[in-house]
């Protein structure tokens, strides 16, 4: 079983829709939760970062963590064509100074005008 599971999609929505992206993880020691956005042929860039359960909001993006269910989500409100990208969840523990990141396989999102 992989440390992080993520539905690869693809997901296609109209402009203005609310998008929900999700990941599950297996290790209860994981404490850091991130979402990266990766445009085609580019490296990932950090979108959201949290290390606690609950919600964190940044503009149109909301990251949600439910440690009891080992489930994390990213919501995108008022989605725009510029949001079309692959979204990767990444999770890490704090058990060592190495703090290795475990990435999901990414969900490919297309927002059409």
């Amino acid at each position: 079983q992989k440390e992080v599971e993520q539905d690869p999609g693809p997901l296609s929505v109209p402009e203005g829709a609310i998008v929900s992206l999700n990941c599950t993880y297996s290790n209860s020691a994981f404490q850091y939760f991130m979402w990266y956005r990766q445009y085609s042929r580019k490296g990932p860039e950090l979108l959201m970062y949290t290390y606690s359960s609950g919600n964190k909001e940044d503009g149109r993006f909301t990251a949600q963590v439910d440690k009891s269910s080992k489930y994390i989500s990213l919501f995108i409100r008022d989605s725009q064509p510029s949001d079309s990208a692959t979204y990767l969840c990444a999770i890490s523990d704090r058990g060592s100074t190495l703090g290795r990141l475990y990435f999901g396989r990414g969900t490919q999102l297309t927002v059409w005008p």
Partner: protein, 117 residues
């Protein structure tokens, strides 16, 4: 804005050949990572450096892969000999400090896409 530089962006090679990738991290970033991303998958860590020292190479196929960061700044990842299964994007990332320290946001380069024929 400071960026992680990688070269080459694209590399096509035949199996059994040698290939090398170069990475120049953001200035001042002590921690450098090489990740491999197979098409349709998430990045997987190959090797992590703290300054010039390797701190995690447990996922690096050492029979054919090698990585160095001699002066603690730029880094080279080498594959010899390349195999068909090595076709992937090789991503370099850097951070001010190791991620587990709580300050280690990773900044990724644009990657080097390798195709092995």
């Amino acid at each position: 804005e400071a960026e992680v530089a990688q070269s080459p962006r694209y590399k096509i090679t035949e199996k059994s050949q040698a290939v090398a990738f170069w990475c120049d991290p953001i200035s001042g970033h002590a921690t450098l990572y090489w990740y491999r991303q197979i098409l349709g998958q998430g990045p997987e860590l190959l090797v992590q450096f703290q300054d010039e020292s390797v701190v995690d190479d447990s996922q690096l196929p050492k029979d054919r892969f090698s990585a160095e960061r001699l002066k603690g700044v730029d880094s080279t990842l080498k594959i010899q000999p390349a195999e068909l299964g090595d076709s992937a994007m090789y991503l370099c990332a850097s951070s001010l400090a190791p991620f587990g320290s709580g300050t280690g946001e990773l900044f990724f380069g644009e990657g080097s896409r390798l195709t092995v024929l």
